[in-house]
């Protein structure tokens, strides 16, 4: 079931990307796509590799800050800051992954968490570069120059959304390919039984670090485009609470399908917006939702769909039998 590509699901996803900005405000729709990239990348580690990374916000933040710095201070073609953001995310992931990989279970979680906190303090202290508590401001959205086409301005909500949608599609396809590749199978095998995978002759730790780098690179890229969304890179985006949010997106969507985290990101962004309208202390409600999901819906929302599908199938079979 894991990773099997469902054509209907892919069509549904495409339809979702098109419909999203029609029913939600532009910013919210764009943010959902960005966090969908982040959540799918997190699922590469949490779901497929069984590596319980609680530090995804460090890759996101590092990518966002490095791209944001270039976007705020230099006039470069768009591709460069995005590339630098992705590389920065991948670099941090390589360092964190290599240092944490020798531990397993709870210690692994604690370590990724502790490093996340270190990068947060780093961003907090390097005020001159990152803007500290106020966030990094003055970030621009450079126009895109393609041959034979007029200049495309990203200051239009529609154009920016289309760019993010294209990046989302490319990232999703890459990650899907990674999971289906022989390399992906090694990582999945190592999750299920690390010792056996190693004894067959695979270098498990190297494969896992590589997976960290892939996840970190894509998360860094997502951070880079996030810095352009609101023209600011807020310090909250590198805080460990954001790592917690990312883990929550993956789990509420469901880890058992590549589409689960996408759904999870959409639900999270929508829920956060909804709850904050209700009450200034919306985090209390959010915490309660987190607890409720863990206690009652461990398969995530995608599990609900599956339950409904099995129920319908059974009913259809019963009806057919009755005839």
């Amino acid at each position: 079931m894991k990773g099997s590509f469902n054509r209907n699901a892919a069509l549904l996803l495409t339809a979702g990307v098109i419909v999203l900005p029609m029913v939600l405000p532009w910013n919210m729709a764009t943010e959902i796509l960005i966090y969908a990239i982040v959540a799918v990348a997190a699922n590469l580690l949490l779901g497929y590799s069984g590596l319980l990374s609680f530090g995804q916000a460090s890759f996101f933040g590092f990518g966002g800050y490095s791209a944001g710095y270039l976007l705020a201070h230099y006039h470069l073609p768009l591709i460069l800051p995005l590339l630098v953001g992705a590389l920065a995310g991948g670099f941090v992931a390589a360092v964190v992954g290599a240092l944490c990989i020798r531990r397993t279970g709870i210690y692994f979680i604690m370590l990724t968490f502790a490093f996340n906190q270190m990068f947060y303090y780093l961003a907090y202290q390097l005020r001159t570069v990152t803007g500290g508590e106020d966030g990094m401001t003055g970030i621009t959205r450079p126009a895109i120059h393609l041959p034979l086409l007029p200049e495309i301005s990203l200051n239009s909500d529609l154009n920016f959304y289309i760019l993010i949608a294209v990046i989302f599609a490319v990232c999703f396809a890459i990650m899907f390919r990674v999971v289906e590749s022989p390399f992906g199978k090694i990582v999945i095998a190592a999750r299920d039984n690390a010792r056996r995978a190693a004894s067959i002759g695979y270098n498990v730790q190297r494969a896992q670090i590589l997976m960290f780098v892939i996840s970190g690179t894509i998360t860094g890229l997502a951070g880079a485009i996030y810095s352009m969304l609101y023209w600011i890179m807020p310090i909250d985006s590198i805080h460990w609470l954001n790592s917690g949010n990312i883990v929550f997106m993956v789990l509420i969507g469901g880890t058992s399908s590549p589409f689960g985290p996408v759904l999870g990101a959409a639900i999270f962004i929508w829920l956060q917006d909804l709850l904050s309208i209700f009450w200034a202390r919306s985090l209390l409600l959010f915490g309660a939702v987190v607890v409720a999901v863990v206690l009652f819906l461990q398969g995530g929302v995608i599990e609900l769909f599956r339950r409904a599908a099995t129920y319908l199938q059974r009913r259809r079979a019963l009806v057919a039998e009755a005839r």
Partner: protein, 287 residues
Amino acid sequence: MNSSLILAQLLNGIAIGMLYALLAFGLSIIKGLLNIPNFAHGALFACGAYILYSVVQGTGSFWLGILAAALAVGLLGMFIERVAVRRVYGSAYLFQLLLLFGVALMLQEVIIIIWGGVGKSVSPPAYLVGAFNLGVTIYPKYLLFTTLASAVIISGIWLIIEKTRYGAIIRAGIEKKEMVSALGINVDLLFTCAFGLGAGLAAMAGALAVPLVGVTPSMGLDMLAISFVVVVLGGLGSLYGAILAGLIIGVIQSLAALWFPAASTVVIYVVMALILAVRPQGLLGER
């Protein structure tokens, strides 16, 4: 660098390190017995601090405040274990950490609802205000009190764990839960009590920290990261490694504030990375 200043920071670091040790000892007990990542540990620390604040405001008694913090948060921990944590023992770590992450968010928001979002401060009891003059440097009385109180509490728990029947059950539970349960011991109750004990230790650390750092709703967030660093450094499966690591981290943090004041928050993580690169199993880790 002035040597009296270094000595002052060293003493300061020992006091803070003892608080870290107390906090991480609680986390270590929960990790050892229940094998769950307690992401609510920082929030329980903050709860302890706020309860002390309220009791001191209401009754003026600092001692009563510490006692009330330990008892109330201990009970709160037992309640959390009973209604929520218990139900995810069979689940993956990911669900356990998310559950406690949710609990931590709720606790932090409840604190803001009850006590407001603005930080507050409490001064130590009158007989602990002031400082000893050691000749080369002055030593604030409250720092000495924090160090001694933490040491007494840790020693007390150590005695219970190493020398009493209940402690034997706890140690056996860490070693092999199934066997303990087969011997007719109520493991469910043991787990509830262990979570309560861990929460109570966090609360006492929080209460003792109040005269030093005051109370703010987000105080638990920073402490959570530090307690994780301390437990990881302490070592795999080591109950007491956390105490040694706590002291080391406290001292390093205080001394770093002398030479690199801007980086003192980052330094402990760098130290953690360096130690783990050399000794992946932690200071007192077995493997």
